[in-house]
Symmetry: C2
Subunit: 192 residues, 2 copies
DNA sequence: GACAAAGACTACTATCATTAGCTTTAAAAG
DNA sequence: CTTTTAAAGCTAATGATAGTAGTCTTTGTC
């Protein structure tokens, strides 16, 4: 194989993620990415199908890491379903705060296609299992949707600086998640 | 006043909003906007300070309409705080579904600056009042943050097509909001 | 009828993503 | 050790975009 390559696809994706996280999505360009890899922009197209394709790969990697953070949080967490979900919520929020730009990119379509639904489904089913321990199976999808919405929404509002009225945001977050789960518990105890 | 203008700032903002809603933010450009106004792109800069400035004005208009939708929903709603907030949540979601592109634009910074905090504060205080009827004053900010996060998060996940596993999303949304409020009610009844 | 100025236009710059086609290079073949 | 070759990088170009500078047009006013 003549002419050994100076980069590979994996390194491009990794560097793209790092660049986006460091400088923000707005500052990201194929040209800047190429420069940071010691190469010229057109060379990237040998490994990547285009900007959108690349960002999709970045998003997949972001989701992988997010779900890895879930796994880690759940191994250390207690047994009770509600406590596990609270731990999950805090791990989720911590991840988003540690990776604000790539998190936001992964969850705001804005033209960029999202990764395969199949993969996401595999990642989310265990969470629904835990939720079923609180609400019962039939309600678990609805309850999980709401929980993810609450977490995602809270984090997005924080990242977009829309919760500027002071107070302890971590505490507010924890209280809100706890209230949400309590509400579902109450319902499942008392019936609709 | 010689040479009567063919557009004014207000019309530009209105048309920009309409264009974004019709074609999506990605398809929006100063040039496309100018064409739709029967004018060339550079002419717009006489009325608008630049793309970001224009989009900020669009966002302000979007927020005004969102809060107008709140007001309307609250006038028709019952007396009990929880019922009022449920009505508010559904009005919020309906607005976002009716204006998906401009809603998303208004709530995802991505370089575009957001409108004045002062205005937003005025819009949000009445909601906190209602929430205080459920949780009491000290917890009302935390509880409101969580509620807005839940609603915003749910809507964002819907708009970004991340809730694709079937079921009645409106029902899941309503159940989740109800559970959330129930959780806070329970807390305030039983203490921390 | 001449003029002043508001307002729109053309022409230009700079930045992107992306494509086409040429050049370089190091490994493999002789 | 030279020649071949194909992968990989590069330059140059295209077309879209935001934004700027300076010119031309229109029209109310004198």
């Amino acid at each position: 194989m003549p002419y050994p390559s100076q980069v590979d696809r994996e390194e491009i994706v990794r560097q793209a993620r790092a660049l986006i996280e460091r400088e923000g999505e707005a500052a990201f360009s194929m040209s800047a990415l190429a420069t940071s890899l010691g190469v010229k922009a057109p060379s990237l197209y040998r490994y990547v199908d285009g900007r959108d394709n690349l960002l999709q790969a970045v998003n997949l990697e972001t989701l992988r890491r997010l779900f890895a953070a879930f796994d880690e949080a759940l191994t250390d967490a207690p047994e009770e379903p509600a406590a596990r979900l609270v731990a999950l919520a805090h791990a989720y929020r911590a991840f988003a705060h540690a990776n604000p730009c790539s998190y936001e990119l992964a969850f705001t379509s804005s033209g960029v296609r999202r990764p395969d639904e199949e993969i996401l489904l595999q990642m989310v089913l265990p969470l629904q299992e835990i939720m079923a321990g609180i609400t019962g199976k039939p309600l678990s999808l609805a309850a999980l949707r709401g929980l993810l919405a609450l977490i995602h929404g809270f984090v997005m509002l924080e990242l977009n600086e829309q919760l500027q009225r002071g107070g302890d945001l971590r505490s507010d977050f924890g209280q809100s998640v706890a209230a949400y789960l309590r509400g579902w518990q109450k319902r499942s105890r008392e019936g609709p």
